[in-house]
């Protein structure tokens, strides 16, 4: 089943056309990644899926339902969770409170079990549970952002550059966790990444975005093998 389908979506910031007709499909249980240069429009696509900014043209459907014109909170309540660019945790609130905010749309009776699961995935968060989130290290904040997104029991998880600014070991750890969430819970994940090598290794399929358009797509392994992908996104990195 198609979990998310984005068809011919255009998004504008004022006069700037950040997305120029984007088509993407994410199937249920898949990990799909989107790679591209700085300013290609990757974050904009994730934000547009969540309705802020709304798509000017085109259609976005989630589990068969048209969500193009819905306000963000309505979209999120249908089962999409986002760990946005820059993490956007609540710095003055404790780790635990952040996780509780993540559970806003989830049924309260699941809170205890979900919390336990989040702590199993990211044990460091348990040790830090009463600490102010703003004082966590960058990697811990990233884990918190992902855990917070998971607390809403989403059917689709959108992640914007979870590896940004993290040490290779932590990146590996986070990607392993994502793989585990996908394998164990069947969570559908749509992942935006600069770290193309790791992302394409992890993902079942991938898309490449250039200037607000999708230029390439294919399985993770295929994309990794393509010379143009290697030239543009992998040289030097790996």
């Amino acid at each position: 089943m198609t979990m998310l389908s984005v068809a011919g979506v255009h998004t504008f910031y004022g006069n700037i056309e950040a997305l120029r007709g984007v088509d993407i499909e994410v199937g249920e249980g898949e990990i799909v990644t989107l790679i591209g240069a700085n300013g290609a429009g990757k974050s904009t696509l994730l934000m547009t899926i969540c309705g802020n900014p709304a798509a000017a043209r085109g259609q976005i459907a989630f589990a068969g339902e048209n969500i193009t014109a819905m306000p963000t909170f309505e979209i999120v309540r249908r089962g999409i969770a986002q760990s946005p660019e820059g993490r956007r945790i609540f710095p003055r609130m404790s780790v635990l409170e952040n996780l509780q905010m993540g559970a806003t749309t989830a049924p309260p009776e699941h809170f205890g079990a979900d919390l336990e699961q989040a702590f199993t995935l990211f044990p460091i968060l348990k040790a830090r549970k009463d600490q102010r989130a703003g004082t966590l290290s960058g990697g811990e904040q990233q884990m918190l952002a992902i855990a917070r997104a998971l607390m809403s029991r989403p059917r689709l998880l959108l992640l914007d550059e979870p590896s940004l600014g993290l040490a290779p070991l932590v990146v590996r750890q986070i990607f392993d966790t994502l793989k585990r969430i996908n394998a164990e819970q069947g969570m559908t994940i749509f992942l935006v990444e600069q770290n193309a090598y790791h992302a394409l290794k992890l993902a079942h399929r991938g898309y490449v975005m250039v200037n607000g358009r999708i230029t390439l797509s294919g399985s993770g392994a295929d994309l990794l093998a393509m010379p143009e992908v290697r030239a543009a996104y992998l040289e030097g990195g790996h």
């Binding site: 802020n52 306000p71 946005p84 806003t104 809403s152």
Partner: protein, 441 residues
């Protein structure tokens, strides 16, 4: 040449007089520029129009005072090892954390003190009156704290809801003769509806824009009250507002037929202080209600959503929070408590007019919240006691009251820019600790 001599003196005595003189001269220049018109000229009513009276000696005094003051201040600063502002902040943070830690006991102590005041000073009406006033502002501060401190919505027109509460009670009581205890919730509901009415269109605005619109709304309400003569009696105000009864017992020397007076029922000598004390306990109860409500709601999803919204609205949206509704509840609930306080004000004064609800009131309430440390319940109490009690104490020195008020504000801004108690404890703790009161008190 000049600097070297300055340095020489500086090395010998530990003072750099030249620098101090320079700074003092600069300050005196600013003082001259400011006081030239503000102090130096004064309009006087003369026959056939306005005249200007010049007071150059006053200007001279002001300039000299500023010069000397600045000079001494600079010298003192050179000598005194300045406590680095970071150290100071850390110290105050520790104080804040300590207050939070002891807040349970502090709260209990404050509560006991508040209950005891009218018993201790039962023959001193002045003390009870001032305490009632302070408590009114504490309640208003706590109410506004929900809007500004928790939800982070800068509301400069809070007094409008205070006014709506006061006029609601006064008008309902005067026209229908309903008792205070029925009107009180009605006034709260009416004020809350006004909150929703205002909030709905404006809560899309952010920060400064919201502040300006709420400021305007506060003025609009006041001007309507002033001009809708047939309904509100305009500038004449409403008088003869009924007083509350104690479970049907009136506080009068000679009650109407069929009504029992308080002193008759309890078989005690009539005293006008009884009512004053009774009113004191009403506002104490109302204020505590506001406090407990805030402490409770901070732990509920909606209260936490307010705080989250203040931190990051975009993140909140992507967590499925409807920002408009969430802000609207904060606005309405804050307004409701202002409405309660307003009806109390009306019943206590027995007379209200638009004069009581000008922008200055909003500013004072906001100052209490901000200076107390946004979101801190104890901070509001401290700030209200200092600002309202303090200015009340200085009433004898009527002229210098506002000066003291201003100095106090500046001092807090300099020493404690984030407010007296700006320490936040998590409201959610795991396991057995969940029962611990986490919130500020």
């Amino acid at each position: 040449m000049r600097t070297s001599s300055g340095n020489a003196i500086g090395v010998n005595s530990g003072f750099d007089f030249l620098a101090a003189l320079k700074e003092a001269g600069m300050a005196a220049g600013v003082a001259l520029a400011l006081s030239f018109t503000i102090i130096g000229m004064r309009t006087t009513g003369q026959q056939g129009g306005l005249g200007v009276e010049f007071r150059w000696n006053a200007v001279a005094i002001a300039v000299v005072l500023v010069f000397i003051g600045r000079f001494l201040l600079v010298l003192w600063r050179q000598r005194a090892k300045p406590l680095a502002s970071a150290d100071r902040d850390r110290m105050m943070d520790r104080v804040g954390a300590m207050v939070q830690h002891w807040s349970k006991y502090l709260g209990a102590a404050l509560f006991a003190g508040a209950v005891a005041i009218p018993l201790i000073w039962s023959d001193n009406r002045y003390v009870v009156d001032v305490s009632t006033l302070v408590l009114t502002y504490i309640m208003l501060g706590w109410g506004l704290n929900i809007v500004v401190g928790l939800a982070g919505l800068l509301d400069l027109g809070y007094v409008a809801f205070y006014a709506v509460g006061a006029y609601s009670y006064a008008l309902i009581a005067l026209h229908f003769g309903w008792s205070f205890w029925i009107c009180l919730p009605l006034a709260g509901i009416l004020a809350a509806s006004f909150g929703v009415l205002l909030g709905f269109p404006v809560l899309r605005l952010r920060g400064d824009y919201l502040a300006i619109v709420t400021l305007g709304f506060g003025e609009i309400i006041r001007i309507i009250l002033l001009n809708w003569y047939s309904f509100t009696k305009g500038p004449d105000g409403l008088s003869g507002i009924p007083r509350p009864s104690f479970f049907g017992l009136e506080f009068t020397r000679s009650p109407d037929d069929g009504v029992t007076a308080f002193h008759e029922f309890f078989n005690i000598e009539y005293s006008s202080v009884h009512r004053v004390i009774f009113l004191y306990y009403i506002i104490l109860a109302l204020a505590l209600l506001t406090n407990f409500f805030t402490l409770r709601i901070r732990k509920l999803p909606v209260g936490r959503a307010w705080e989250a919204l203040r931190e990051d609205e975009i993140a909140c949206r992507s967590l499925g929070i409807n920002p408009t509704n969430t802000k609207l509840t904060a606005f309405a609930i804050g307004a409701m408590f202002a409405g309660f306080a307003g009806s109390f004000f009306a019943t206590r004064q027995g007379f209200i007019s638009p004069e009581s609800f000008n922008f200055g009131e909003s500013a004072v309430i906001l100052a209490i919240v901000v200076l107390g440390g946004m979101g801190s319940q104890v901070g509001v109490v401290l700030a209200a006691v200092v600002l309202i009690g303090g200015t009340e104490l200085f009433r004898e020195l009527a002229l210098y009251r506002m000066l003291a008020f201003g100095i106090l504000m500046v001092a807090i801004m300099v020493w404690r820019p984030r407010g007296l108690l700006a320490h936040r404890e998590p409201t959610l703790l795991l396991g057995s600790a969940t029962e611990r009161t986490g919130g500020d008190r």
